[in-house]
Symmetry: C2
Subunit: 172 residues, 2 copies
Amino acid sequence: MLYSEDMPREAMQREAGLGKGRPARIGFLLSQLGAHATELFAAQTKELGITPSEAGVIRIIGRSPGISQRELADILGSVQSRVVALIDRLEGAGLVTRTRSSADRRVQELRLTESGAATLKLLRRAAEAQEAAIVEGLTPQQADELFELLSALGSLRGLDSEIHLGYRDSAR
Amino acid sequence: MLYSEDMPREAMQREAGLGKGRPARIGFLLSQLGAHATELFAAQTKELGITPSEAGVIRIIGRSPGISQRELADILGSVQSRVVALIDRLEGAGLVTRTRSSADRRVQELRLTESGAATLKLLRRAAEAQEAAIVEGLTPQQADELFELLSALGSLRGLDSEIHLGYRDSAR
DNA sequence: TATTGTTATACTCTATAACTATA
DNA sequence: TATAGTTATAGAGTATAACAATA
């Protein structure tokens, strides 16, 4: 639940001093729709037997075969011990392999198995299906417009266009 | 992390079969921006010494003084034991009171203390400030447009315009 | 000494189930 | 019997700190 789930529209409008016909609810809508999109995607990864976090790891490894656990932790904005647990799980599920680097034997090189690569394909297909479901009901022009506005907002906020760090506990 | 944090734009575009100049990234952007909005709000509630969940509870009680814990649980889509913990915390912080109902002595009637009502005001002010921060950089026309498009999406998805259920574990 | 990875541990959030008091 | 609330407990997720192997 978030910050305006129960606030009457009139009250927000009045208190925000907007009164121009648009209530102060963009933040709320973003938060609500974002959570919804996140849940939809989570439901899809669940069918593949993985969590959204694990899906993110699979994509990163798919893009950078041989990446080390340390590098992965940096990209995720997480700690090494968390990565150990994530990879333990994915290795156990037969989706990822660990190989000691011959150049530096401290390093574990991460790669997708054949099954992991197949899962990555399914993840991409799921993302496409979700995109279609989200814009369903909007005209193509509206969808383009929405995309432009959200992109602009993202750039303004300084968010990386490729990386989504997710919902951190530290923020709560 | 979510479903396209590392997927190259070209790949998504190609695989989604869009190819009309717009990559299939609205779902990702919504999720990313939603998480960002959520984090910003969480940082603000933290300064008030409460979590976003507790902020939601304060708003609901402020809107419905005398509400029971059972009713609150229903609104939150949560269970009674969770509400017990939430109210324990807010009561301990002096923001909420429990009073046994004289009509049905099983029921605890929840109300904001003076301090709780003050916190609610601060929460509303924080929401206004965040709204301003979010649309900062957009023209008023763009902000209006964005609001309309997000509202349309919300109606389409059948989301309640007043209630945001948040990020459930069940979805992960 | 510094770094990669691992293990042990603890804390937060939230759910389930058993229980108490009241209806 | 049914319901409101409470307590006990457990699981998931993630963080910190100590440690081992390697550089």
